[in-house]
Structures are given as structure tokens and as C-alpha cells.
Symmetry: C2
């Protein structure tokens, strides 16, 4: 009987990238069942055999890593725990139907606190017409961990994987980028001020948009519906949880292609720009968009021939195009400089 027998020859978890870790751990697993259509390596797995397939994905949020109870209202937290799981369903071009929510909480939380959390879960389920069909609530020694499994459905011909992008396809993103991370920057700044002086009353009203973007993201099922209404099936899609750079790299790697993203095409809200200008460490709005994460917008590619069907929609924006296999994933600046994209997600959105 020895505690922690695995002390020798150890590799620290944070010395290996998340993707490499998942690949290492799941490499031995091979598909066995004919009802498993697609497995690990996309936003969600696809199961079933008929024309209508089920889409399944799971997402974990940990106190002290993904959220800070100092500035996260429980109702928002419950909403977000469901919203981010549903976002993975949207990224497969599917419709969400069910969720299961498992919560491990310490006795620091009361029954009333859990009720607030569940109010948020309820609001998100209500908004996206999703059934809560299961889950678990269990005590844990410290903090809170929430794992949400989301289930959706999609017709086989509409399933959108990460690996379908082709050379010359146009790259779109929905909404705006970097605002969730700016919201986090504001909250972190106010927290520091508050810790120094607890009588301090923060003025958060003028940051309402970016705060809501961070605290209460929305899965973009409105975009999925819009694409269906216009008769467009993207060639590839992914949701932007860790920032545009990382997600564009995922998409390019899966599709075996490169991309060019134009810096001046990035949709950035004026509040994001304002927050960046106020930050002492001189944060660039482009950095927030590329690496901030937490926006849960959709990044997708379409055939050029579909462009006319989408060009008048205000909620989506062309930001670049797919380049040939073997080429790099780059951002082109207004000065026509080319910068290779790198994934450097901040931990809150990992």
C-alpha cells in the first residue's frame, strides 16, 4: 500500500499541450460499434444509424480555473454551464434537445445557492428548448465542478465536421470576437481594486455588453437556423471557445489546409476596443479576438458559390479564406504583413 506510486518518471500535465494529452490518452481507443458514426476529435461525437443522427458532447467547468465565485453570479454560472455545452452542438450544425448536468459542490454552498444555479440552468434550457434529462449532485471536498453533457440531433446531410474545408472556401465568423475576454479583464481589474478596498463600488454599467459576453455567452443556434433558411451547409465548422487563432488552427489541421485571415476584417465591438485601450498592459483588440476565448461564436467555411446567399446577413462576417494543403494558417495585417497563427488560449477558456 503506497500513496502516489507514480511519483517517478513523471511528466507534468501542464508541460504537455491539451490536444497532445487527449491524443495520448485516447490513442488506444478504436471505434467498435456501428452506431458510433464519429468519435473524439470534433466539437461533438455523432451516434446513430438512420438519417437523423444524435450529436453528443460534454464540457466541464471548474471553480478557480474556469470561473471565479468572486464575480460570477450563480444564475449566470448555471446558464453558462449549459450554454457552452450547447455551443458544441451548434458547431455540428445540429439542434440541441437534451442536457445532463452533474455538479460536485463543497458544503460551502447552500441549498439556496444550488437553487440559484439551477435557475440559470433552467433559463438556458428554456431559451433553447432543451430538456434536462439527468445528472447528479454530489458533495466534494472543495469548490465546484460542473459537467454538462449536451445531446442534439441533425440530418446526416447537414452534419458539419471540422475536416471539410477546401482550398478557396470562404471563412466566416459570427458575432464579434474578443468581447468575452474584455469582460473578464474588466472583472479581474475590479476584483483587484475591491480586494484592496472592500468599500469600493465598481462602476460596471458602461461595460454591460462585454460583461454579459463573458458571464452569459449564447450558443449561436440563430446562426444555424439562418444558414438552414438560406440553404447553406458549411463545408466545416467549429465553435470559438479558446480564441480564433486556436480554432482556425484546429480547423485547418483537421481539413489538411492553410488559411489567410485578414486582421482588418475581424469583427470587434467598440467596448472591446475601449477596454483594451484602458488596460495598463496595452492589450491589443486583435489579441483579444485571436487568443482571448470564451466568445462561443461560430467559425465556419463555405464554398465561394454560396457567398451570394449569405452576403447580406449582418450577424456573420467573412474574415478570410482557406489556402492550399501544406500552406500555413496566417493572419494578414493591414500593412500586408503575414503573421503565423499560434494557439495561446488563456486558461479560463481551456
Amino acid at each position: 500500500m503506497e500513496e502516489l506510486q507514480y511519483q517517478e518518471g513523471r511528466t507534468e500535465i501542464n508541460h504537455i499541450g491539451k490536444e497532445a494529452l487527449v491524443n495520448l490518452l485516447t490513442e488506444p481507443f478504436k471505434k467498435r460499434n456501428k452506431t458510433t458514426t464519429s468519435t473524439i476529435g470534433d466539437d461533438a461525437a455523432i451516434i446513430g444509424t438512420g438519417r437523423l443522427r444524435r450529436v453528443v458532447s460534454t464540457q466541464t467547468m471548474v471553480e478557480g480555473i474556469h470561473f471565479d465565485m468572486m464575480y460570477t453570479p450563480l444564475k449566470h454560472l448555471g446558464y453558462k454551464a449549459v450554454a457552452v455545452a450547447l455551443s458544441n452542438i451548434a458547431a455540428m450544425n445540429a439542434t440541441a434537445r437534451q442536457v445532463l448536468v452533474s455538479i460536485a459542490v463543497s458544503n460551502r454552498y447552500s441549498v439556496e445557492a444550488l437553487q440559484e444555479l439551477y435557475q440559470g440552468i433552467y433559463l438556458c434550457c428554456d431559451r433553447y428548448d432543451v430538456d434536462l434529462i439527468g445528472g447528479e449532485t454530489t458533495l466534494c471536498p472543495a469548490g465546484m465542478t460542473i459537467t454538462t453533457t449536451a445531446i442534439g440531433e441533425v440530418e446526416t446531410e447537414k452534419i458539419t465536421y471540422r475536416n471539410g474545408a477546401q482550398t478557396h472556401d470562404l471563412i466566416f465568423v459570427s458575432g464579434d470576437l474578443g468581447s468575452a475576454y474584455s469582460g473578464l479583464l474588466v472583472l479581474e481589474r475590479e476584483k483587484v481594486t475591491y480586494m484592496a478596498n472592500p468599500n469600493f463600488q465598481p462602476d460596471l454599467a458602461s461595460f454591460d455588453y462585454v460583461l454579459e459576453r463573458f458571464l452569459k455567452p449564447e450558443p449561436r443556434f440563430d446562426i444555424i437556423k439562418m444558414l438552414a433558411d438560406k440553404g447553406v451547409v458549411p463545408t466545416s465548422m467549429i465553435d470559438i471557445s479558446t480564441g480564433l487563432a486556436g480554432e482556425a488552427l484546429h480547423l485547418c489541421k483537421s481539413s489538411g489546409c492553410g488559411c489567410e485571415i485578414y486582421e482588418d476584417k475581424l469583427p470587434i465591438d467598440y467596448q472591446t476596443t475601449r477596454v483594451c485601450s484602458e488596460m495598463s498592459q496595452n492589450m491589443l483588440p486583435t489579441s483579444c479576438a485571436l487568443n482571448g476565448g470564451g466568445d462561443y461564436e461560430l467559425l465556419f467555411t463555405i464554398k465561394q458559390s454560396d457567398y451570394d446567399k449569405l452576403k447580406d446577413l449582418s450577424e456573420i462576417h467573412v474574415v478570410g479564406h482557406i489556402t492550399a494543403p501544406g500552406s500555413a494558417a496566417v493572419m494578414v495585417t493591414p500593412q500586408n504583413t503575414t503573421i503565423e497563427l499560434r494557439a495561446q488560449a488563456f486558461s479560463h477558456a481551456e
Copy 2:
């Protein structure tokens, strides 16, 4: 900005039973989608619309609550995390097909430790022919939390809920009861000895059966297959995660009936009896069976007319029968005394 605004009017989580808590939290949620066949309140939810339905359930295991790293080999832990989730699928009379495993771990664990854990996950998936289709690995400030979502499938006419038991139905259990808890008792005893004297080498060989029962439980798909081979669909079923008493009460409450369970019919292994006799606090084998938990055997009811089909099977045992609506759930002792069943699960199996 206030930390923990919910300090006032607080009800402690452990002052309200787990069932009452789940009911309180999930009461506002109503079924919305026609693809949701059945929702919270059984071992698993049922989704889909055709003859073949999907069965979904989720299970969370927390370090320091459900497992102790002092005596839990990581490979066993990974195996168990999948096995207990699959057990819920078996309890619906279904076949398991897929799992998603989400793990939040502190940096106390190395990549090598996670690989050991995943070896166990692999072994269980391999044994039960299940695909690992997703999940997440994320850092957390302390300990480890594993949430497994299991998905199975079942023909509509074979779905077995908790609520179908009828007066005079016979009550069966599979395998033996109380052995997992005896295994835990042995491990806890050796831990105490080891803490007092780290040079102490425990002799665990003579407890191999009960230790394996606790550390590496098996979902009883062999019983599901046996029932199918004999052409028997149970009238109700539940898996025994928290002990026979609690599960029999769940089944009776859902079915709106009572039950009589005969103490001398309880299947108890001789190692369980031996462990109980060695314990200083004079543990009764019957208590282990009723309230020990962690056995993951199946408790099910059948129509009396099906008895002949099952009576020669050695892996299942009649332990009692269902009584009329309004009557209590009781155990009858060999002295013909009647004791009302009470749920008092030990925390490891909650």
C-alpha cells in the same frame, strides 16, 4: 461585488436528503421535446422516437468522497468510473454502446498517472464493447473528479423502469450483496494500520474477492443477456449502488407498492461474513447487504408466471415479493420479525 451573497437563510446541503435535493432543484423542469421519452427519476433517461431508443445516464466520482487515492489503483479507478455508469444502462435492460469521460485533475497527478487511469477506462470499454466518444481533461485546484456519461440502446418493448412492479411480483437480486462494502472495510482497516506504521505490509490476499468487488465492480450485462435469452422482461429494475434497502425503497416508491424481503434469502458471500466477524464494531452481514452499497448488482421484479424460466439460474436469487399499494417495504427476519427498510447509504456510494 460581494463574495458569497447567499450566506443568509442558508440550508446546508447535507441537511436535506439527496433525493429531496434533486427533486427541489429539478422540479421546475418540464419535458419539452417529443424525442425525450423519459427524464429524471430513473437509472437513466430514454430518448428517441423509433422502436430502438437511446438510454443516457451520468455518474460522478469525487476524490475524498467516492474514492481514496491511498488504496485505489488508478487503473481500477478508471475501470470503475466507466463500470458504474454502464451499470445504469444495464438497469434499464439496455445494451451499452458509448461513453464520454470528463476528468478534472490537480497538477498532483502526472501525465503517466492519467495514462494509468485511461488504461482502466480502456479495459472496461473493451470488456463491454463500448466506444469512448468524448470527454474532457481539465486542470482543477485539488483532487480529482470524474464524470462519465454512458449511452446505450434498447427496444421500446424491453425498457425496464423502476415504476412497473405489481403486487405479487417476485423480487430478484443478482450476484451477492455487501461484498463491496466489506472490501472497503478491509481497505479502511489496513489504511489505519499503515498510517500508524508505514513499514507494515498488509496481507490482502485472503480478501481478494471482496477487494475486487469494491475496487472493480462490474455492470451486470451478463444478467441482461440471460434474461433476454430466457425471454423474460422484468416488470421493474434498478441497480444496487447504495445498498439493497435504499434501492428497494426507490423501486417501491416509484411503483407505488410495498415489499417483503426475507433476510435468510439475501445472497451473502462467505468472505463478507468473515470480514464482518473480524470487525471490532460487530458489523452484521445483513447491514452490509442492506446499506453497504457499491455492489452494482441488479434488483428486479418479475411476474410470478415467469418464475419457471429463471428458477435454475445460479447468478440470480429470489429475495422476496412485492406487496399491495399502501403497504410498507420491510425485511422479514428468520424469527419472523418485520423490520421496516430504511435508506442509510454510506457516503462512498452516494
